[in-house]
Symmetry: C4
Subunit: 332 residues, 4 copies
């Protein structure tokens, strides 16, 4: 797994992300990534396509991070699972202590003593305490005291997690599934489209697009990063959609390239967006990337505006049409 790299000089310390003179488009992926990685750098959801190991779960706080970022159905399933598990554990304890631990009637079902203990645990954990079943003796009462503390802490924890999930500023930007190479004035342009997934406002958006491709120099393949010039790099408001446009002029690194070239060079377009979320007045970041097979040539984005019945008046946006593209005649 860990190979000695005999030719490494000080200037190329394996773990040094930079080296010669800081390249402004390097982004911190580092020389070793540039030299050795052929994988996609950014996943479509903006996360880094990188494996990390060597840290315990607690130390990396990945449990907390997971609880914040999983989907709502999975979060609720986890909370429910935890609730059942805790009550199973305490139910087993009360049941194992014997039939005289709890006063009150058992349930008239198979395993009635156990279910009595389990539901007594529920009534204790959730601090209901009907009292038709109640603890008898020191041990049972001590376990009740423990379970009550666990119950209160769990409530506090879930409350905190729920709020953290809500208040977390996630950049709710939807990127079009594909980027297009579309006609643009008398030439073509690389374009993709974004909308705000949420009803809250995003303002002061800034966009950067970097093109990563493999270049062969002196017989060694190397990943190279170039920033693309955008028609506009920022907008103040974002009520509708924004089509981000890189005109492919003579200066563009895309000039003269074909779809085949993009696939051969292992091109990846890295998209970096920042915006301010008005709901919590926080700066948010969104990232994605487009690979060669996610680019549609000779297409443009379809009109996604809503218009009044007579078609004369613009009244809004149909977010569902974000991904819609339509073929166009190539520029000859």
């Amino acid at each position: 797994m860990h190979r000695k790299r005999p030719h490494a000089t000080g200037r190329e310390t394996p773990s040094s992300p930079s080296a010669p003179q800081a390249d402004p488009h390097d982004l911190g992926f580092g020389q070793v990534v540039a030299r050795e990685s052929r994988k996609r750098l950014l996943n479509r959801d903006g996360s880094f396509n990188i494996v990390r190991k060597g840290l315990g779960v607690l130390q990396s706080q990945s449990a907390y991070h997971t609880l914040l970022t999983i989907s709502w159905p999975r979060f609720l399933a986890l909370v429910t699972g935890f609730y059942v598990a805790v009550n199973l554990v305490f139910g087993v304890v009360y049941w194992a202590l014997g039939p005289h631990t709890l006063s009150g009637p058992g349930l008239v079902v198979v395993g009635g003593q156990f279910w009595r203990a389990f539901f007594f645990s529920v009534q204790t954990f959730a601090t209901i305490g009907y009292g038709q079943v109640s603890p008898v003796g020191f041990t049972a009462n001590a376990i009740v005291a423990t379970e009550a503390l666990v119950g209160l802490l769990s409530l506090a924890l879930v409350t905190g997690l729920l709020f953290a999930r809500f208040s977390r500023p996630t950049a709710a930007i939807l990127f079009s599934r594909n980027a297009v190479i579309a006609p643009y004035a008398d030439r073509t342009a690389f374009e993709f489209r974004i909308v705000n997934r949420r009803t809250n406002q995003l303002i002061e958006l800034h966009a950067r697009v970097l093109m990563s491709r493999i270049k062969v120099e002196d017989g060694r393949a190397r990943r190279d990063f170039t920033e693309l010039t955008l028609e506009r790099t920022s907008v103040v408001f974002f009520p509708l959609s924004w089509t981000i446009v890189h005109p492919i002029d003579d200066e563009s690194p895309l000039h003269g390239l074909t779809a085949h070239d993009l696939a051969t060079c292992d091109v990846e377009f890295l998209v970096l967006l920042t915006a301010v979320d008005e709901t919590f007045a926080q700066q948010v970041h969104a990232r994605t990337s487009y690979k060669a097979d996610e680019i549609v040539w000779n297409a443009r984005f379809a009109d996604a505006f809503l218009r009044s019945a007579d078609g004369q008046e613009l009244i809004g946006l149909d977010v569902g049409k974000l991904h819609d593209i339509e073929p166009v005649q190539p520029v000859s």
Copy 2:
């Protein structure tokens, strides 16, 4: 709804908010808005006058956004409605399971069995658990376990929502109902007035005012944006009111225009404010707009200061007089 637009060229992709060379006053409304929209752009409360569709409620998180932004009476009504609804559902379930599901006396009213079930649900959901009514058998206990979890999660949810509503940095800036065209030195000025609605401090206020109007060029009407020069664009503190003043000098786009002209050109003054809320140390944004019919000509804002009994000493501000204007002689 979605019409093909035959003459669109690449340079005018329907969804492209920009195009020729990025206009710094375009604000991100886009070409299509400039060309087709005749509606007010900003509502008085600062929201965008835009319809959005095509996203489910969950995906757009509009439920969460709604719960954060509706008024307190409506929020409390929703919470109460949810509380009643959940207990009705569980009450019906306990009741449908038959009279032996719950032990304890029924209520001596019409529908006594149902109300016993409903109030048992309340005692369970709220984790009171008097125990005068208690669940019998496996099914009843399993439903109790479910309802207890729903109750705890609901409490966690409402706690999180309450805190999110409180901690959300809303720009509590009150704008004067009208803008005025008032005498100013030897000419006139476009003015409006703002105060801080809350007792917390706003500092470092910055203001921008853009004038949007319809211009006809080459027989095509087009919305045009111009930024207005302000007497001052920022203040460090905001303990009193701030009258934002655009002097109508020879350079002003308002120079020579009459009230009739403003209405004809469909003029809209877009007001953008930023400030720092000291209570939570967050930057907040406020927006509004004034249309032609919200501008009063030959008027000025009335004095809104509180003075000591002898009238000599300034002691504060009467926020209630924010909107007060008084007529003045027009500058001849």
Copy 3:
């Protein structure tokens, strides 16, 4: 209270805080304050010495602001008072419904029926529900359902308030009670001292000091603002104390002034500090002001450092000595 001001021109609209050409030291207090106010502008705690009226309590959110900013003893007293009040109200309701509303034994004290109802309310509001007293009939149960909702919402509210009080970034900067005019090299300097009241870290502190004084021009008194040049305006770290120093050189507006002059001109030194609170990574603001009678002439701040037993090694700071000053010989 509201006097017509006959000579006001457009340029001096009463509520306009600015006017001629934006004075960078005006701070937003405005012309009318400059012309009419003789009061202290900033209180010692940094709040503005301004009265506001004309808004309801709910609209100004002053209730919420108050709950966030009052001291902990007062906050706990308010919460306790609310708890008692709610239970008194519900206790009276249960009691007024008659002795058959609640089952279970009354208390054997004067007003036993009332106290039974009161303590039943406590057991309901706090969701304890022992069940030795329980509600009978539809009305009693409906009130229980209402009280349970009030109880849950109150818990959610207090939880939110407690967290908001904790997480609020208050600039915990202690200012020395007095400023001093101290010897400094071969001249004197205006100095005051600050420390961080808390154990959390403040970093990247920036200071501004403005001197406000009354100037008489053309027979009209007017408040004038001048920014003082500081020896240093910022520090990266703030582990100890920071003495902020304005050297009184020939350029200083304090040059040649005596203690009597300061009092006559109604001088007020406005101090504005910003810093970053590391605990919550938020920018915080602190303000205070010094009036003429809070300035001690010919004094300097006493050493407040803690040293090792042999006196050779600096080991820390005695925050309790922040205000200590000691007389020095005036510079002749």
Copy 4:
């Protein structure tokens, strides 16, 4: 403890952290620290090596700060201890009021009456309220009302603390245990390595390194600060590790120094990092320092990358190898 310092002039007021002309590398430690302190300035965890006294616990909010910053096991131990303590106090009160304070069966163990009171307290504090034991009379009920309030407030408090602990933006940057003096191109460099301890993303990292050393001038030892030139001072992304490199060229203050020199001059390398935590969109700060004995000469950081089975493809990072260094031949 507090010694008069006879030679202090106004220009060297003991508590003034600055003086001549603001030194940009002074960082706010101040002249007195520069002159008198020989201790480490920054601890390895980034806190200041400074003692503070003279403030009460409440005033300094150190209790709150402690509850936010202690480890999770200690936090849970404190919460559990508080829970037991409160129930012991209320248990003793119920018990001291005599056997008729509570109805219901005592526990059949040594001290049965006391334990009955203790567990009744648990059932009240946690708002369970089985009701098999219940309060009798006004006094017992009044104490129950008090305990219920304490219980609800405690739950609110713990919920707030849990969330504050979670949402606090702590810079989870792990610094390599040692810095190295490694070969770098045709010379050497001072290097250390960092990784992100958490799975959340840190972006926009900026690094500063200052070298503090004791210089003797005019027979007086004085601490001197010099900023080191870094190969790169910032990276946009931080998915892997970052080795921060100061090349020791002719301009470097380390040029020509030996390990012995570093120890003699009491050198301390102060490292200041800022980054943006994407999870909460907040700027975070991390600090550490390296002293002479934490620097390894003629070593470099070992490769910490994970590679695919064939060793050709870079797939990630082994955080556990952060501290690994390997000896290298010194540059002759």
